[in-house]
């Protein structure tokens, strides 16, 4: 392998290959002194980025980096790690030396039971998460797409801004421990090599006097799902910008709302996070949540609302890793197959921590709730957005929410702001643009006050960090009653 290839990823790809990751472990372990085992966690990422504002591209970038974390005597519990982004021999040897030094001082005693052996090592199957189209979207192609998105906004006398990003990531965690195990036994410290891509494109179109703003965006592992939509994204943002100009102030209060899918997804973040956060088996979790009832001394676990109806029966929230649009990075400890969190309004599953997942082996790894709210599909209905509007006597149409913050974790009450388009509906028609509101509402409440549901669609839900995982979601538009808007926020 050439020096260039070894140092910069393969000749073809700007991220590390599986062979290169394995080799890093072997080389690191070769430098080890004093016995014991060695583990390395490797992340390798590449991003192609294009930022634009005021109708001009402001920056095009090509960036890449790696992160290699070395543990010596892994499984001893407690952090004692050294991370470096250089993998030449001298750097690796230094890192190994330093890791040994730190381990001597900071790690808790080696406890083999802390790293139990598990049967299967491979990651359960998932729909594809790697797209050649994403990594193949070169600079010139990105620039051309952005020019096409800017042009109609500029022609309309508006300002287009936005961000287009393609990313490739590879990760692996390997250890020299447990090599002599019986066939079929592996260490749960390890995670097999996996690589994925993420693409995102979002645009904000603003009126030059700052009096209107519209937004549209999409994300996916596969650029091909976005590329053909870029013109439509630009068009939607322009249309919303135009339609949001000269908004009027309305009285805060409770309104019937039609939430576009993006707004539903923005509101649902805290809901999805709560499913994992509130583990029945753990007294350590300091945050309470909506799903626990009381602690049962006999079972040493919380009694929860599992099996109870918690939201409207039209709502099912699930994840099928084989859904072509919902592929994610599946943990080796994950149980294969779909998981249903909410089924026809009934709470079916809560999250479990890694220890519980390892405990519940019963022939197959873990519980498929290590997935938490990483990705999900929410059921919908057949009512189109136009039909929802037509059947609304008085209500508000919301594009999305921004700056959402949790206020109360028992009720999942959150507050935040509407953004990039808010309209009043009167007697079945959009009549006015409305000034943005601060809202104070709970997704639990909203999901219990549903009037109509539309067709679920993929939403904009990328991860920001360069080595972030995939977090796709498919979400319907929802019309709900009595949504609480608490104060005026005359921002655009």
């Amino acid at each position: 392998m050439s020096e260039a290839a070894r140092n910069n990823g393969t000749v073809d790809l700007p991220i590390l290959s599986e062979a290169e990751c394995r080799q890093i472990l072997e080389r690191a372990h070769a430098f080890a002194r004093g016995g014991g085992e060695t583990a390395v966690s490797i992340k390798s990422w590449w991003q192609g980025e294009l930022r634009w504002a005021r109708n001009r591209a402001s920056l095009a970038s090509d960036r890449r980096n790696i992160e290699v974390t070395v543990h010596r005597n892994p499984g001893g519990g407690g952090g004692a790690e050294v991370t470096t982004n250089q993998i030449d021999d001298a750097a690796l040897e230094s890192a190994v030396r330093a890791a040994e030094w730190i381990t001597l001082r900071r790690a808790r005693p080696n406890d083999p039971s802390f790293v139990p052996k598990v049967r299967a090592y491979s990651r359960p199957p998932s729909a594809p998460i790697w797209s050649d189209a994403t990594i193949g979207l070169d600079t010139n192609a990105r620039a051309e797409i952005v020019r096409r998105m800017i042009a109609p906004a500029e022609a309309a006398g508006l300002y287009s801004a936005g961000y287009l990003e393609v990313r490739a990531v590879a990760t692996a965690t390997y250890t020299t421990a447990y090599r002599d195990l019986l066939l079929g036994e592996y260490s749960s410290v390890e995670a097999p090599y996996i690589r994925w891509t993420q693409a995102q494109c979002s645009t904000t179109v603003r009126d030059t006097t700052g009096m209107g703003s519209g937004w549209a965006g999409l994300s996916s592992y596969d650029w091909e799902r976005i590329g053909s939509q870029c013109d439509a994204l630009a068009e939607r943002a322009i249309q919303k910008c135009r339609a949001s100009r000269n908004p009027v102030a309305l009285e805060p209060g409770r309104y019937t709302v039609i939430l576009e899918p993006q707004a539903v997804a923005d509101l649902m973040e805290v809901f999805m996070a709560s499913l994992y956060r509130e583990r029945p088996e753990s007294r350590m979790d300091r945050v309470g949540g909506p799903w626990r009832l009381a602690f049962d001394e006999a079972t040493q676990m919380y009694v929860t609302k599992l099996g109870l109806k918690v939201v409207d029966e039209r709502i099912t929230i699930e994840h099928d890793p084989m859904d072509p649009r919902l592929g994610i990075i599946m943990s080796p400890l994950e149980r294969p197959g779909p998981v249903t969190w909410i089924e026809k309004g009934v709470l079916k599953r809560l999250g479990h921590g890694i220890n519980k997942a390892i405990d519940e082996l019963d022939g197959v790894n873990g519980l498929h709730t290590l997935r938490r709210g990483t990705a999900y599909r929410m059921s919908g209905g057949e009512t189109s957005l136009e039909e929802m509007i037509r059947t609304t006597r008085r209500g508000l149409l919301v594009t999305r929410f921004s700056n959402v913050k949790e206020l109360d974790n028992k009720s999942l009450l959150v507050t935040g702001l509407t953004r990039d388009g808010l309209w009043l509906i009167e007697n079945g028609e959009i009549t006015k643009a409305v000034k943005n509101f601060r809202f104070t509402e709970s997704p639990l409440f909203m999901l219990n006050n549903i009037e109509q549901l539309g067709e679920p669609v993929p939403v904009f839900r990328p991860t920001k960090k360069e080595d972030g995982e995939l977090t796709p979601a498919i979400v319907p538009p929802i019309k709900a009653r009595d949504f609480s808007f608490t104060s005026l926020a005359d921002v655009v």
């Binding site: 470096t84 030449d88 001298a90 001082r105 801004a161 507050t415």
Partner: protein, 539 residues
């Protein structure tokens, strides 16, 4: 040209012989250097680094760049908790090229001549892909180029070289034991902890600039929870927020005394009766931390010129200061008591540097003077946007030096520098202001949620009812609603010089996101009228 592996090991072991025992990590790791062995701690100043930087510039110029700059950063971080420790080391390089008014950027982790050339060419290729489009004008405000200069942030004790991990652990273990002895208190998970960053960076530009710097950042967390029969709440020590300091930040502070005082305050507070919030308008005394947290988004972020002109519209948002060119010198951002200055020079400031990430020597400048907006945070490109306004006011057209890239693998953009709110003339502190208040509310440690124009905010913190100039009860569930200009126009009293407090603030910005730190210094202050609501009450 490049060192053999054996030579490099010799450096690391040699550097490590003294340092390794202390720091646990051998000296700087470099992939390839010139033939001469550098002194430990001086590697960034080696000629070989400059040659690498110039190689990138040469390649970019050859490929047709009108302007190029390069950053190389070597960053070492150490995190120490009571049960864990993590050392991180990273070498990265980033090249930025300007071609016909369009910027291209390429970055990676290899400090080799070949990679420098590749990045130089790649950054130009990135810019060229954009330059096919419509014409774009970019003027870079003139800036004197530093030539072969070096600056080391003055610290007393290098946190990686001058203090052993054992000493750091001992201090943290001592804190843990000290708290454990008080049964009503416990430490929150992840605390106590200490975090150190040492960054060596080199900057070069096609205008002949070359400078190197060594920068430090130190911070820690000590968070306590008190459970008594009456109350349960948590507070953090606010004397170890991020700062441009070394180990002396911990060592020279009386941490145990500070923790003991914090515990006393918490116990005293726990005895206060608790009342639910009554919505209404109140006169409010805010402690220095609250003023810092109010100022950071409404006056710090809001005065980044790129943001105000729409360059963050697709991510964080814009600014309520939406007409910068016309607002300078006339917009009333606050009452005449409000004077806000900015700098990247204050000793111990988290944003303090000698040169910013465009090689500009930052100046101290005034953002708000006696309530009136005077200036924005700028880089070389954005300063030029204000050229007419500056010239008409007989001011220099220059960048204030706010360009920052946390590491070289990120592109430099405008980030908030250190800020300072001028104190009042009288020697008043928080308790004096409370005494002077008579009736109203007092709030400490308010955390603020702001909207995407830095305009409307909701603050929540530790709130007290004030009667007869004393804090008599804790108010639960209060939210402070405000609109930035109205808020600062309602500023009616300030603490004095002696009441000033400094805090390191973390902020994030950009797509992709970048995280930086800056210091904000402020006195406690009084607002004439604050709208208080119950934030959990629905409409």
């Amino acid at each position: 040209m490049s060192l053999s592996r054996r030579d490099l090991l010799k450096i690391t072991i040699k550097a490590g012989a003294g340092a390794a025992v202390l720091s646990g990590i051998p000296g700087p790791l470099l992939a390839q250097l010139g033939a001469a062995l550098p002194e430990p701690g001086q590697t960034i100043r080696d000629l070989a680094v400059k040659e690498l930087a110039l190689r990138a510039i040469e390649a970019a110029r050859d490929a047709g760049a009108n302007y190029v700059d390069v950053r190389l950063t070597h960053t070492r971080q150490r995190h120490v908790g009571t049960h864990d420790m993590r050392d991180v080391e990273e070498l990265v390089v980033g090249v930025r090229s300007l071609v016909n008014g369009y910027w291209g950027f390429a970055a990676s982790r290899l400090w080799t001549p070949d990679e420098m050339a590749r990045l130089g060419r790649e950054s130009v290729a990135q810019a060229r892909a954009l330059a096919i489009g419509p014409v774009r004008e970019v003027d870079l405000a003139a800036a004197p180029a530093p030539v072969d200069e070096h600056w080391t942030m003055p610290v007393e004790l290098d946190p990686l070289e001058d203090v052993s991990v054992d000493e750091v652990s001992d201090i943290l273990d001592g804190i843990e034991y000290f708290v454990r002895v008080h049964p009503a208190f416990r430490l929150l998970p992840g605390s106590p902890s200490a975090h150190f960053v040492v960054q060596d960076k080199a900057f070069a530009s096609s205008e002949g600039a070359y400078c190197t710097q060594r920068l430090y950042r130190t911070q820690g967390r000590v968070e306590l929870e008190l459970r008594t029969r009456e109350a349960s709440f948590a507070r953090g020590l606010d004397t170890i927020t991020p700062a441009g300091k070394g180990w002396e930040y911990f060592k020279r502070q009386p941490l145990r005394e500070q923790i003991a005082r914090l515990m006393e305050e918490m116990e005293a507070e726990a005895k206060l009766p608790v009342k639910p919030v009554e919505v209404g308008r109140y006169k409010v005394v805010c402690d220095a931390r609250t003023i810092v947290n109010l100022a950071a988004p409404t006056l710090g972020v809001a005065t980044q010129l790129d943001r105000a002109l729409g360059y963050e519209a697709n991510s964080g948002g814009t600014s309520y200061l939406n007409d910068p060119l016309n607002m300078l010198g006339s917009f009333e951002a606050g009452s005449s008591l409000l004077t806000l200055t900015a700098n990247r020079s204050e000793p111990g400031g988290a944003a303090t540097v000698q040169w910013d990430d465009e090689g500009v020597r930052p100046d101290d400048f005034t953002i708000v003077h006696e309530g009136v907006l005077q200036d924005f945070q700028t880089t070389r490109e954005s300063a030029a946007w204000l050229a007419d306004t500056y010239t008409k006011a007989s001011r220099a057209v220059r960048s204030h030096g706010c360009a920052a890239a946390p590491t070289a693998v990120e592109v430099p953009i405008t980030h908030t520098p250190n800020l300072r709110i001028a104190p009042g003339k009288e020697a008043l502190d928080f308790d004096d202001l409370v005494a002077g208040l008579g009736e109203g509310l007092a709030v400490k440690d308010m955390k603020v949620d702001i909207d995407y124009q830095g305009l409307n905010g909701l603050g929540q913190g530790n709130v007290y009812e004030v009667k007869n100039g004393k804090r008599v009860a804790r108010i639960m569930g209060a939210g402070f609603l405000f609109r930035a200009p109205q808020l600062w126009k309602g500023l009616v009293a300030l603490g004095g010089e002696g009441s000033l407090r400094r805090f390191g603030v973390e902020s994030s910005k950009g797509e992709p996101e970048q995280v930086t730190y800056h210091t904000v210094t402020a006195p406690p202050a009084v607002f004439e009228e604050f709208t208080v609501i119950d934030p959990k009450r629905k409409a």
